[in-house]
């Protein structure tokens, strides 16, 4: 499939050259909602608010494409002078150029001279950071979005030597702001609010209650979902061997696979699934799930769901 990176580019003011991609770096914007019926998930930045803020900090439109980088290690070289800003998990940006070496934090615009490199250090807490570049990244669009979708194979993670073109300078200036306040991801127990269902009735009461106790984030977690380790959830007897007809899932669905272990779907999730979803994390808490570090403890807190019509 087509990668996020265009071929030889002309007419762009500046470009980013990937010297080292780190553990995982992908191009993301706010995703491609509206295509789920085709089997294409929403995808996009796992913390849309963080990408929006990073864009505002460099004077971009909020929906411009940026980078989502996991666990640091990303090294970029600027071809042409650039302004960028990082948000999300707190990282140090080390800019090395002809004028020497400077360190910057998240939440502020950083000027990078032509030819300088920017290294993203591993986060002090959390997992993922977002980097916006003034002008926005302008990779190829698929179904109206630049987002890399690892499940569907739309776009691909950045690799060493990739060149990402930067768009033309926006009319809006870089805001005069020293430092935007950013929440720091917890390194303690991550507590996520969840609405029971849609298939909570498939599970025993003990199984449903076990979600409110601590689970361990599995290292095989990715943009598709956060896998959890713990005591498998048991189904009620009448659902033990029942096959669930495939049904739609969303980012936030806590699906319980055949082995009884829950997977919290993130934005590259499969749009339908044949395993029951026991609970669903509320929209507002999902960005926190994107910061769940392998080995960290995570639990759910049940909250009331929306008012829905009675059976008709």
């Amino acid at each position: 499939m087509r990668g996020p990176v265009s071929g030889p580019v002309s007419g762009h003011a500046a470009r980013l050259v990937v010297e080292q991609p780190g553990a995982l770096t992908v191009v993301e914007d706010l995703g491609r909602p509206g295509h789920a019926a085709l089997g294409v998930p929403e995808s996009g930045a796992l913390d849309p608010g963080a990408l929006r803020l990073a864009n505002r900090l460099v004077g971009n439109d909020e929906d411009a494409a940026g980078l989502e980088t996991t666990l640091g290690g990303l090294v970029l070289r600027a071809e042409g002078p650039l302004v960028l800003a990082a948000t999300g998990a707190p990282v140090t940006l080390v800019v090395e150029g002809p004028d020497g070496c400077r360190k910057h934090g998240t939440g502020a615009a950083v000027h990078v001279p032509d030819g300088a490199t920017v290294r993203v250090e591993p986060p002090r807490a959390g997992l993922r950071s977002w980097v916006a570049v003034r002008g926005g990244l302008v990779p190829a669009l698929v179904l109206g979005s630049a987002s890399t979708d690892l499940l569907s194979g739309l776009g691909a993670p950045l690799a060493e030597g990739d060149v990402v073109p930067v768009g033309s300078t926006p009319a809006r200036p870089v805001p005069a702001l020293d430092q935007a306040p950013l929440p720091t991801p917890t390194d303690g127990v991550l507590v996520l609010r969840a609405v029971p269902g849609p298939r909570d009735d498939w599970f025993t009461r003990e199984a449903r209650e076990s979600l409110t106790r601590d689970w361990t984030v599995d290292s095989r977690s990715n943009r598709v979902g956060v896998r959890l380790e713990g005591e498998p959830l048991r189904r009620r007897r009448r659902h033990e061997d029942q096959e669930l007809p495939s049904e739609g899932t969303i980012a936030g669905s806590v699906q319980v696979a055949a082995n009884g272990l829950p997977v919290l779907f993130l934005r590259d999730h499969p749009v339908t699934g044949g395993y029951p979803v026991v609970a669903t994390v509320v929209t507002e808490d999902l960005p926190q799930a994107a910061q769940a570090v392998p080995g960290q403890q995570l639990r759910f807190r049940y909250v009331r769901g929306p008012q829905l019509p009675c059976e008709t």
């Binding site: 499939m1 019926a37 085709l38 849609p198 495939s246 739609g248 769901g305 929306p306 829905l308």
Partner: protein, 204 residues
């Protein structure tokens, strides 16, 4: 019609059968309530995902009052897909249906299929018998495969389908095709859309 919450901004509407799902989907699409982001029809449910909780509650009230049309998806284009019938599960499928493998292939070729809905992965269509029969009804495999190749032609429940790309999968494999189900450089990217009629032919 049963409403099942999916978090704060989405819900599944569960109905009795696939035909009702498709009629409901058509009715909701036509009504186009404000704030609906995605509609995902599946075997017994329609997922309604909205921008936020308020939009969902308002949309749900609209959907609950809808009159369903008598017929669902209008029949669309016709596509013919060449298949090599050499799937690993042909023998198991034949044993389950109590026939030989030639009969499995014969029924797959003789049926005019229709895309009921799409999903699972980009380009995947859930195909049902256009005449309303169930010529090849088999359960999913007990254990799903971690790797099903792109182009695999498979059966599960009342459906047949073609895996658009290599992925894990629990359906029974009966053959394979070289036809691309999903190609982002093609417009439309998906070969199969809801309503498309599909005929299979023996590949040479």
């Amino acid at each position: 019609m049963r409403w099942l919450p999916c978090g704060d901004a989405a819900a599944l509407v569960e109905v009795d059968d696939l035909d009702t799902v498709l009629r409901l989907h058509a009715a909701v699409e036509a009504a186009a309530p404000d704030g609906v982001v995605d509609l995902v029809p599946a075997a017994r449910t329609l997922l309604v995902r909205c921008t936020d909780q308020r939009a969902l509650e308002r949309a749900a009230a609209v959907v609950a009052d809808l009159e369903l049309p008598d017929h669902a998806v209008p029949t669309g284009e016709e596509v013919t897909i060449p298949v090599h019938y050499d799937g690993e599960d042909l023998d198991d499928v034949a044993a389950h249906l109590g026939c030989d493998t030639e009969e499995v292939v014969r029924r797959h070729l003789a049926t005019t299929w229709r895309v009921a809905f799409t999903g699972f992965a980009p380009g995947f269509g859930y195909l049902v018998d256009d005449a309303g029969g169930r010529p090849l009804e088999v359960p999913r495999r007990d254990e799903s495969r971690t790797r099903v190749p792109a182009g695999a032609v498979a059966l599960a429940g009342e459906f047949t389908g073609v895996y658009p790309r290599e992925s894990p999968g629990g359906w029974q494999l009966i053959g394979r095709t070289d036809e691309a189900m999903w190609d982002v450089d093609r417009d439309p990217a998906a070969l199969l859309a809801p309503g498309t009629r599909v005929l299979f032919e023996e590949a040479r």
